[in-house]
């Protein structure tokens, strides 16, 4: 049975719709991310699940019981969830141990039991030595760990995280992504994670929900969201990509500069006359000689128009011969081509993704 179910949930503020027709179900122990640009409604969704906001339409169910509906919403304190906030919301008037033990105190756990569990969880997040400190004496990363410990120690039915890493510096952020996933692997708490950072979502999640303008664009595992984007928004938002428009011509699709047999393209349903594909810069190769190509490869002549060296890779822009179409290509540092040099572009047809024209 699904742990948490959102059925056709919408929420509007005044006339502005923040979330529209949101349907999602989480399995017990699953880690799901809500990913999207700021203002796409992901935090609103999270706060509806937490019970801070009631939905305008639709219902939210926990363990098969309705906890939110437009008519009435169970208050947050009765939902057995916990949440990590963007500001961490560590109470500055309490020590680390008091912060972490607070939820247990509310649940009327015995004091010695509280002490034991707080000690355990603080060791798990490597804060054992700081239990008597006040939050003002902690670094940002340590505060973040306190927030994690405080949320996990109560063994919540659902753990909610609202952009928990956005206030950390880059190195710490990278470290904490893995920390969050590690804690999830250890405790298996059903988790919903809100972020605008695709790397965070990719590293931590079992599934990613991509949102835009209050609507769900795609729900998939991280590799599918990147490798098989369903909409133009998803393809453009997750990583960089090239969009190429083509026309259906008989049993092939004619793109500017190259042709691909219809059967080689994987599409949801029948192809329309106008076909839009997304192709990642990584799935294109540049070469001085025309390769044999072989089955599933297209080889197209082109010319280098722009290039930038970024240390880890080359970022090329090539213009396909006889077409206005430009493609971005990512190449390894040793693959050096001069601007203006004629090259062969080798596209792996299996990597072409047909985007629903919406």
């Amino acid at each position: 049975m699904s742990k948490l179910v959102l059925r056709n949930v919408s929420r509007s503020f005044g006339n502005a719709a923040a979330v529209e027709d949101f349907t999602l179900s989480l399995q017990e122990g699953e880690f799901v991310s809500l990913l999207g640009p700021s203002g796409c409604g992901k935090t609103t969704t999270l706060r509806m699940i937490a019970g801070f906001i009631a939905p305008s339409t639709g219902t939210i169910e926990l363990d098969g019981k309705v906890i939110s509906s437009p008519a009435s919403s169970l208050p947050p304190e009765q939902r057995q969830m916990s949440m990590i906030f963007q500001s961490y919301a560590i109470w500055p008037n309490m020590t680390v141990a008091e912060n972490v033990g607070f939820g247990l105190k509310i649940r009327k756990v015995r004091p010695d039991e509280i002490r034991r569990r707080v000690g355990e969880i603080l060791d798990t997040v490597q804060l054992g030595a700081l239990r008597e400190r006040y939050p003002a004496e902690l670094s940002g990363g340590q505060q973040q760990r306190v927030a994690l410990a405080r949320a996990i120690v109560v063994k919540p039915a659902v753990l909610l995280l609202d952009e928990p890493l956005s206030n950390l510096d880059a190195n710490l952020r990278e470290e904490m992504r893995f920390e969050i996933r590690r804690l999830h692997d250890e405790f298996r708490i059903t988790t919903l994670y809100v972020t605008h950072d695709q790397a965070e979502a990719m590293i931590t999640s079992d599934r990613i929900v991509v949102m835009s303008k209050g609507r769900i664009e795609q729900i998939d595992a991280p590799y599918a969201v990147y490798g098989r984007p369903r909409t133009r928004f998803v393809a453009g938002f997750i990583g960089r990509t090239n969009f190429v428009e083509g026309r259906l011509a008989g049993d092939a699709v004619q793109f500017p500069g190259f042709r691909v047999p219809k059967s080689a393209l994987e599409a949801h349903g029948a192809l329309a006359d106008e076909v839009l594909i997304s192709v990642r810069p990584q799935s294109i190769q540049l070469a001085r000689q025309q390769s044999l190509g072989g089955a599933g490869h297209c080889c197209v002549p082109a010319r280098v128009a722009l290039r930038a060296y970024l240390g880890e890779y080359w970022d090329y822009q090539v213009e396909l011969s006889g077409a206005k179409q430009r493609l971005r290509v990512t190449a390894r540092p040793q693959e050096v081509f001069e601007v203006g040099e004629p090259v062969w572009v080798d596209v792996d047809v299996a990597q072409l993704v047909v985007i629903g024209t919406d």
């Binding site: 009435s72 208050p75 304190e77 949440m83």
Partner: protein, 569 residues
Amino acid sequence: MRGDFAQWWRHRDKSFWVWLLAVAVLLVLVINPLLRLVLASFQQPNGTFTLAYYAAAYGRVRHLDALINSLVLGASAATLCLAFGLPLAWALSRTDMPGKGLVWVSILGTFIIPPYLGAVGWMLLAGPNAGWLNRAFVALAGTDAGPFNIYSMPGLVLVTACYSFPYVFVFAKSALDLLSSEMEDAANILGAGTLRTTLSITLPLVLPAIVAAFILVFLEAIALFGTPALLALPGRFHVVTTQLWQFFEHPPRVGVAAAFAMPLLCITVLLFWVQHRITRRKGYVALTGKGGERRPVRLGRWKWPLLGYCLAVCMLSFFLPMVVICQAAFAKAWGRGFSLDNLTLRNLHFTLFENSLTRNATLHTFLYGGAAAVIALALALCLAYVVHRQLVSRRLGDVLSFVTMAPFVIPGIVLAIGFYAAYTQPPLALYGTAWILILAFATRFLPIAYANSAAAIRSINPELEDAVRILGGTRFTAIRHVVAPLLKRSLAGAFIVVFIPATRELSAAIFLYSTNTQVLSVLLFDKSDEGNFEMLASIGLILVFITVVLILAGFRLMGRDFMLRRTAA
């Protein structure tokens, strides 16, 4: 159906009822008295509509003269306040004048003296014949009588201005503090001298603040009761507030008083609205933008005349009155002058310990002021919380904060008439009890409590409370374990900011006290016509002492600017 209700009940935020209670209290404190005030002016005891009260109130030239006198007083006092306050604000904010600390302390001292105590001081200074200034003049000039008479319109204007100019000072100084030197540099580089720059750049930039302060002081002056009652009544003229008081002489004519209070209320509301418009206007970047680098203006040889002027103002408002009041409080007979054999502690001892009237009044002052501050603060906190945590819709929130702030524009004397009209008969017959004083004080200073509470609530990130709730705590748990501990300091400060004016309130108390519920301010006014200045001065000193202790506590809690901030004014 039952199931639905059970679910609704379970899902209902229990704190809802507290907010409902707070709104109910607001109805009792603000809405009902105002409503009754208006009703009382139109309604005969049997409930029928009448205009007779208005006819009685405005049908006599004497009453109209009081209206005109009030306007004259307001306009002249406000003008004089500008003359006092602006140079001081400029000197302290923008120049390298020496002795700034001394001037600052004197202005704070002026703030501490209740206006009516200042009036008592000036009675000692410039009473005809016996006043110190007159006696000094006679001694120096060898004439028969001194020229000063404080029981006159000029006297009233001077004393009123002495105790209102700190508002102008605070407004102008905070505007000047925001002004960056670069704006003046820009004028200098184009060839304007210091004087020209000050007049054509600095002054216009702070003009909105000055106009706002002028309006505030004007309203202060026309709403003031103590000073005119002490000075105008012996001088045989009336202003609106003293006239209102006369309508309350036995038997009280509430209807007439209510009718006569209307112009005061209307002018006040109108001018506050104008003031609000002026301070909100966006055109003046200097008032909203950040100050850049600031350098004091070099005064050169002009610094001594400026300091002289500043000290002269402080002399009039602070040093002279305080010296003669202290002298009177510690003198066997104040007229015998400054000598050691005239020195005694009897007055203070008598006032504090022997005289049951003054002893009780001191106790009441503390008790009522404290109770009023607690009530105002509790209510203000609830309301600020409801509004700023958006527990109610935005529109309702706006209405709530408007009603809560409304007493700010109601003169104390008008509020008192409203309270009298509302709570002399059942169901809430509070008149004659301490509660009517406590509630009236609480209402008068509710806006101060609200402004402070709202600022405190805004300083707490709502996520701190959300974190409590998602972990299973109710809203009350969050308030008890997180909000309250974090607000402790600022609430203690807010308590003091409300408590101080509540201990010295006169204009509402004078209409609502009874023989068993006298406070120091009322007693001081009551005893003023007995001519026992030694006792008046002692009562005054006790009041000042209370205030100083509270302010020192406030300094420790909130830093030294807490009384002279614009929000407090």
